[in-house]
């Protein structure tokens, strides 16, 4: 049996890669995919902890996160398409109107 720490380490690595992607990339779509990556890393920790604790609530929580993430993707991509229609760009550097 694989120790739970390995799953936690893998999830931490996935989360870190996702966070680095958000900080380093400019394409809004790629940044969005990195958000999904981080959500998946957290889901993995919930499943592992749920197994280790003998509790199904971890899997129920992952189910809810999946649903909320699907809703988030729908609205986020719709916003991105609406922005692209107006500004013809998907680069977050050019969408800095709210910058102080």
């Amino acid at each position: 049996m694989v120790p739970d720490g390995w799953y936690m380490g893998l999830a931490a690595a996935l989360f870190l890669i996702g966070a680095l992607g958000i900080l380093l990339r400019r394409n809004a779509l790629v940044m969005f995919m990195c958000v999904e990556l981080m959500l998946n890393a957290v889901n993995l920790t919930l499943i592992s902890a749920g197994r280790a604790l003998n509790d199904l609530d971890g899997q129920v929580a992952v189910f809810f996160i999946l649903v909320v993430a699907a809703a988030e993707v729908v609205v986020g991509l719709a916003i991105m398409v609406a922005i692209f229609r107006r500004r013809s760009t998907a680069s977050v550097d050019e969408l800095s109107d709210l910058r102080g």
Binding site: M1, V2, D4, G5, W6, Y7, M8, G9, L10, A12, A13, L14, L16, I17, A19, L20, G21, L24, R25, R26, N27, L29, V30, M33, C34, E36, L37, N40, L44, I47, A49, R51, A52, L53, N54, L56, D57, Q59, V60, V62, F63, F64, L66, V67, A69, A70, A71, E72, V73, V74, V75, L77, A78, I79, V81, A82, F84, R86, S91, D93
Partner: protein, 180 residues
């Protein structure tokens, strides 16, 4: 023996996909990398007996969400000319500091193997029976019981959320500037 082997293979696949998402210049390659990561994570769920969640992961994430992503990438157009200049001062330095800190923290936590907080003890129930230390099996029946008893309010709330999200997406898609 099977579990460590599957874990190593799928962990490598998941990490490779994740790195592809970040480094690929073409967003299509990023989407394919994310797809690989999602599938690998689904296999990791199956290893941990979360069958239902694994199926949902493949159907909802790898199916619906990735289709939507690819559709929008094609719609917006593949822009490969992403500038690599950094406009925020010191951003790269802080990214490096963050990466080193997280790697040290997670690596130390994993290597010390101090995960006693998650070791289950056999619990005595009211009827006197001992719940064994066997892992929970995430079948549809097993998930449905807490889902429709303890979590039924959250379940209804997510139903409402999905409806609102669908309505919001349609409203955004119909958005037009006046006179265009």
């Amino acid at each position: 023996m099977v579990e460590p082997l599957l874990f190593v293979v799928m962990a490598i696949a998941a990490l490779a996909g994740a790195v592809t998402v970040v480094v690929a210049q073409n967003p299509i390659y990023s989407a394919i990398g994310l797809l690989g990561t999602l599938f690998s994570v689904a296999v990791l769920y199956v290893i941990q007996l979360a069958h239902f969640v694994a199926a949902v992961q493949v159907i909802v994430y790898a199916g619906a969400v990735m289709t939507l992503f690819l559709f929008v990438i094609m719609l917006i157009g593949v822009d490969k000319s992403e500038s690599t200049e950094e406009n925020l001062p010191m951003q790269r330095v802080w990214v490096g500091v963050l990466a080193v800190a997280v790697i040290l923290f997670a690596g130390g936590l994993t290597l010390t193997g101090n995960f006693e907080w998650v070791v289950p003890e056999p619990v005595e129930t009211i009827s006197g029976a001992l719940i064994s230390g066997e892992p929970v099996n995430g079948t549809i029946q097993a998930i449905a019981e807490p889902l429709f008893t303890d979590w039924v309010l959250a379940f209804e709330a997510t139903a409402l959320l999905l409806t609102i999200a669908a309505a919001g997406a349609i409203a955004l898609a119909h958005f037009r500037r006046k006179g265009v």
